[in-house]
Amino acid sequence: MDLLPIENLSPLPLVNLSSITKPFDGGILPLSNYCVKKFGSDTKCREHYQSLVSKPDGCYQCPYGLASHKFALLGRPFAITGFISFPRLGGEHEAARAKEMPAYKTSLQIVKETVTFFEKTHQIARTAFEEQLKKYPLAFHELRKLNGAIKQRAEKLLVDFGENEEARTIHSSAELMSNNLDLLEIMAAREDLIDLPLNSTINLLDLAYKCKKVYQQRAEERNLLLWVDGNEKRPIIQGNRKTFPALLTVLVENAIKYSREKTRISITAVMSAKTVRLSVHNISDIGIDTQKCFEKGFRSSSNIEGSGLGLFIAQLVAAQHKSKIVCEQRGEAKTFYMDFAIIDFA
């Protein structure tokens, strides 16, 4: 579930710091005429909002003496803005603005409570959304049946008539659809599915090669090279066939979304004595919080599409498989890895 349109919920003017435009009118207080004029006439307002992006949450004064209270919601930065703070922040022009715009004097405490209101509203909406998801098993079922028919027929075309770009595209798209349905299903029934037994055997390299095949086209659209590597012997682990593939799906999809163009994404399965380390490595200019990235709803970038649930789900699946995903960051190089016990070799 994505962010609610909080621009429509704020009682005070609000600016989305991920995509800076003229601040939205508040439900109680619209953006003042003063601010409307200033935003349109010079660049200082925009520069002020841009400077807020890298600052910690808190209250800051704009060049014209008005206050902007910066906060984050689901990892995305916003600011309630265009008001005169009480207690005063001090600084040039604040007194002048306070005299001109008495209606915009606002207690900082109220501003902070507004932020709390956003967070609570989101929590309620998310819970309701997840409850709704539980009511969609039949919808998943019908989608999967249809998707399965498309996938299998595309596969038959490829087998019967040889390699064909259209059939391959249809097949890959159907595989992508399966992956997305798997993730949705896990999100909708987390406790049930993560509780399932590890009664299948998973060939990690086979899974990695399949993942490469499915995501090849997407990777190419961003000029990325998808690479799979591993030992000659193919390690097999105990796993759940329904949930385990989602783990690799999330990591590879994220790598494709966040990687710098014209770089390589490596999926490797490297064995040591009794374990195998499955890793996804990529190059990205976007920094990542290696701990928080697994938190529900956390997103490393507001400019890239996503729900903030993928890594959270992936970590749950890893735990189901008695493992843990570790995120490492060395400058632009990012690696996600997890270890599993080997039970056999293919």
């Binding site: 079922h141 999967r144 049946k145 399965g148 299998q152 509780d195 299948s200 399949k210 759940n240």
Partner: protein, 224 residues
């Protein structure tokens, strides 16, 4: 004599696991698909040479009870209604009870709630309805291979006889099986089993026992 004892080795059941080629698995294996809607996979399996039957309701389980099928692909919805309101889950419970040697794949794309999660928990593996043909064939072949493992068939015997795993009785029976396998003497094992049960073997036990000895001949022990 001394030389013989030098090379004497105590066998485990794993020593009798058959080394089956893909062709042999396809030739020997029998599959049943229970699904209220005939899947494309049925014709694909037949095309690949698998012996596969289809049942749209799961009402008649007589062949399952005869241990005829090595693998059953079991749907959840619209089947097994004769066995209870939980449909495929009710049928699954019956199959696990009467034919524990049959390897059951949960063949459904239904996203299940917790109370239906037993369906996944009590099957041996999962085959999603929207899996590709190649993936499906691989999973079915893998299931057939596992269904023909001596260890798996022994576990089925343990279930049917009611002997508790890990107990002295189970160890003795397993020892009797190993001895009989070493001598390729099925009657020897049947005698031991009858002795334990204080009765003759029923049809299910007869079938599973016969299967163990047939398969074990395909890769006997190398010592002695």
């Amino acid at each position: 004599m001394k030389r013989k004892f030098l090379f004497f080795k105590e066998h485990e059941l794993s020593d009798f696991e058959p080394a089956l080629t893909r062709d042999e698995i396809i030739r020997r294996g029998r599959i049943l698909i229970v699904d209220d809607q005939q899947p494309l996979l049925l014709s694909e399996l037949k095309q690949q040479g698998f012996s596969v039957d289809y049942d749209s309701s799961g009402d008649d389980t007589s062949n399952i009870e005869k241990q005829i099928y090595d693998v059953v692909l079991l749907d959840f919805g619209g089947v097994g209604l004769r066995f209870g309101k939980d449909q495929g889950l009710s049928l699954l419970k019956h199959i696990r009870r009467v034919a524990p040697s049959t390897y059951v794949l949960a063949y459904t794309s239904l996203a299940l709630h917790a109370k239906q999660g037993d369906f996944f928990r009590n099957t041996h593996d999962i085959l999603e309805k929207d899996a590709g043909i190649a993936d499906s064939l691989k999973i079915v072949e893998d299931a057939l291979r596992k269904s023909m493992r001596v260890q798996h068939l022994w576990d089925a015997i343990v279930t049917l006889t009611g002997v508790s795993p890990g107990t002295e009785q189970e160890k003795q029976l397993r020892g009797a099986l190993i001895t009989a396998l070493e001598k390729h003497n099925v009657a020897l094992f049947k005698k031991a089993l009858s002795g334990y049960l204080h009765a003759g073997l029923d049809a299910a036990l007869e079938a599973i026992t016969a299967k163990i000895f047939t398969l074990s001949l395909l890769n006997g022990p190398t010592s002695n």
